[in-house]
Symmetry: C2
């Protein structure tokens, strides 16, 4: 009986260890990507709120600076008097507020700004991870698209098992099922749509470029998974040469 | 002609000044409330993401701590080894990660934690603002409900012009229009629903309590707007005595 109990404990230990090992780099990349995406949404909401709030205090600033991050960087890096001098030298249309109210808005801006920094550092982390985990795919497609493909497939292993045509359409599931259901036009690309080769191609060529790109991507993920040579950069140059004409 | 130009400039100056004065405390309270609400949504998304991410590293922690804020406070305040010792003394089922990966997760947690702090400080600010701007309403209904009513009406001035029955239903617009359109049951309360008097009342009494509360609230907003006596606390006690039996 004692033997049985000790065997049981050993098996539990073993299961724990194996569970720990089952989780790998894939997961970390997928989680980091999801965090970046969720930060982007939150940053957008909070920045718009800050814009509206600050719009009552110094409307001239929001009028001139359209980019959210630059807008917030200005509020964080300069004092209110400096901003007033720079953006409304003839006097602002906004309300004059006591320091106590200004400080609250400034504190809020600082927190939002530090979230922008956090997003940057997560993107840098993602970059480093992909450099070692999917060097070929990253060289061909860039960090964001590579991470999205990984996240779409669930793991690098499942990604290697997808045919090129599926890689081409990962991320376009909605359009694909609409096509299958209603006979609408079939989608030509999913996540890879934002790749510069497709972006720069003429409208009529986009589908063709997407297919070639997905072909190479399907080779790259296999090279990455089976630790093959580094060919991603070469493939990208080949495609660039082919579609430049 | 010169006279005309100088008159024009003077008028522009005057308009700017009046515009600045047209914006008042109302706006600051409404903006702070909206910020708190948007922070709440963002915090929820980001906390859930962190939970999932950290769940691969030390699943035992998320299993024991259900509250998001406490969960994150633990990650921020203790080292990973301390957490491991406290929550998985027999060894964790999670993956063993190098410091570099752990630090990224920790940094992410710190940013989320500082957003929780920001939310607290905005709530404190809201409290202070309401103390001076709507002391009676705040005493009767508490900060959150008072600020929501203000935000629903647009300003304290418009709030004073609403009948008690409208104050009772502010925030229940969807249910009210459904009632008008489809003849479904009419709503009994809007924002004031979360007030402790209504929460503690029996089901059959809730409507009656809501009506009395809205009656008093309608007096309180007028007292606040016209700078009357401080009666909010007395009204609350009256209502408590009336509905305790």
């Amino acid at each position: 009986m004692e033997d049985f109990a000790s065997l049981r404990n050993k098996l539990i230990e073993l299961t724990k260890k194996q569970l720990g090992e089952a989780v790998s780099e894939d997961i970390l990349i997928i989680q980091a990507l999801a965090s970046v995406d969720e930060l982007t949404v939150s940053l957008n909401t909070l920045s718009k709120r800050l814009r509206e709030w600050f719009g009552y205090i110094l409307p001239e600033l929001g009028h001139k600076i359209n980019d959210h991050e630059s807008f917030i960087r200005l509020i964080v890096s300069k004092s209110f008097d400096e901003l007033l001098k720079e953006f409304a030298p003839k006097g602002s249309m906004g309300i004059k507020l006591p320091d106590e109210d200004l400080n609250i808005v400034k504190e809020f801006s600082e927190k939002i700004y530090s979230l922008y920094k956090e997003k940057e550092s997560l993107i840098k982390y993602l970059d480093l991870k992909l450099d070692s985990f999917m060097p070929n795919t990253k060289a061909l497609l860039g960090s964001t698209i590579s991470a999205r493909l990984l996240s779409g497939a669930g793991s690098l292993k499942s990604l290697t098992r997808l045919p090129a045509s599926t890689i081409q359409l990962l991320g376009a599931e909605k359009a694909l099922f609409r096509h299958l259901k209603t006979g609408a036009r079939s989608p030509k690309y999913g996540y890879i749509f934002s790749h510069q080769l497709i972006q720069n191609a003429k409208s009529v060529d986009k589908g063709r470029v997407a297919r070639s790109l997905a072909d190479k991507a399907s080779i790259c993920v296999k090279l990455d998974f089976f630790k093959g040579d580094f060919l991603g950069e070469k493939y990208l140059k080949d495609l660039e040469a082919k579609f430049r004409k």
